[in-house]
């Protein structure tokens, strides 16, 4: 067993709300410098920068996991992680087909840039990626598990795009076994919520900009080996500590 420092919620320049300078290689390099062992790229509704991100992570000697922050039809954000790039890209293609045909207006929302592994801009995505998809919250777990991944709701303590805020309460029927809380969430958050009693919680930085990268890792996960599959397995077997 190895304890690895992780952050599984990171954005790149493909997310309109991220800085253009947050290219996948820059994010990977800075997280490596901060001492992380495992990081996941989770752009809004797309895995389009994951290939470049994984290669950059390899270059910096850390483990990269392909992922996405899915926006469900209820406007709940869900982190989805995959053991393989191909599975992530397959899911990404499916999600793209469930995204409404609304054009991004970059002056309002920001640019959506596909990058190379060295951070060069390749092209821009024209469809607005932060829209809600037609995928409902009760469908997500199955769709991700079919592709051997894991899905869990993002920043459930926040007032925007969070499962608890948008839907009111936790329902085990949605099939999520863990949840993410934001960096600022108080440690005793779950104490006042009997509906999430015993639910394992992990933190995600949700970094959109370089300055949002934590100076040092705050949490560790025991894994069998340093692989995406082992990290996903470890998340599945988390117990409340």
């Amino acid at each position: 067993m190895k304890d690895c420092a992780f952050d599984l919620h990171i954005h790149s320049a493909l997310s309109p709300c991220a800085e253009d300078s947050s290219t996948p290689d820059v994010m990977a390099g800075l997280f490596a410098l901060s001492g992380f062992d495992v990081i996941a790229l989770t752009d809004h509704n797309s895995c389009g920068n994951c290939a470049a991100f994984l290669r950059a992570c390899e270059h910096y000697g850390i483990l990269g996991i392909p992922g996405m922050e899915l926006n469900t039809s209820e406007e709940v954000h869900v982190v989805c992680l995959f053991p393989e790039l191909a599975a992530a890209e397959d899911f990404s293609e499916y999600v793209y087909s469930k995204l409404p045909d609304i054009k991004n207006r970059s002056r309002i929302f920001g640019n959506q840039i596909y990058c190379s592994e060295s951070g060069q801009p390749l092209r821009e995505e024209e469809k607005l990626l932060i829209s809600a998809t037609e995928i409902g919250i009760y469908e997500v777990s199955d769709l991700v598990e079919e592709r051997c991944g894991i899905a869990y709701p993002a920043h459930i303590d926040r007032q925007a795009n969070s499962l608890l805020y948008n839907l009111g309460f936790w329902d085990g029927g949605m099939g999520f076994e863990i949840a993410e809380i934001s960096m600022r969430c108080p440690d005793d958050f779950a104490d006042s919520r009997p509906d999430i009693e015993g639910l394992p919680l992990i933190r995600g930085s949700d970094a959109h900009r370089m300055e949002q990268i934590p100076e040092k890792p705050l949490q560790h996960l025991p894994v069998e080996e340093l692989s995406a599959q082992a990290v996903i397995d470890a998340l599945r077997h988390l117990k409340k500590t």
């Binding site: 926006n71 209820e74 406007e75 409404p100 609304i102 207006r105 309002i108 929302f109 932060i130 829209s131 809600a132 007032q159 925007a160």
Partner: protein, 112 residues
């Protein structure tokens, strides 16, 4: 009816009035931003409880006449800043969305 007239008649709290003479044509109520983006129409008043900065983005995208935060909700700092930058009309009321929309409908029906 203009936004400044609406603000006066409904006694709305003014957070930001960047375009007070903007004309009003009907209204839309909703909190899921994607629904509002897809369904609200130009010059609508938008009644909502959402108060984050994406609200401003949706208002610009849809060219709404104004945003009215209901239930006494206050805009968060980023929303207020964004609304000022974009020259939007951002108002508030302590009424529920239902009550606010009902009051608006009454105004809409009454002869000027």
């Amino acid at each position: 009816m203009t936004v400044s007239e609406l603000a006066e008649k409904m006694e709305l709290e003014v957070f930001c009035l960047g375009d007070p003479e903007h004309g009003i044509d009907s209204a839309y109520c909703g909190d899921l931003l994607s629904w509002v983006m897809g369904r609200a129409e130009m010059d609508n008043v938008w009644f909502t409880i959402m108060s984050n900065q994406n609200v401003a983005a949706v208002a610009v995208m849809t060219d709404l006449s104004c945003i009215v935060l209901t239930e006494g909700v206050k805009p968060d700092e980023q929303l207020l800043e964004r609304a000022k930058t974009e020259g939007l009309n951002l108002l508030g009321t302590s009424l529920s969305t239902y009550r606010a929309a009902a009051a608006f409908a009454k105004l809409e029906d009454s002869p000027e």
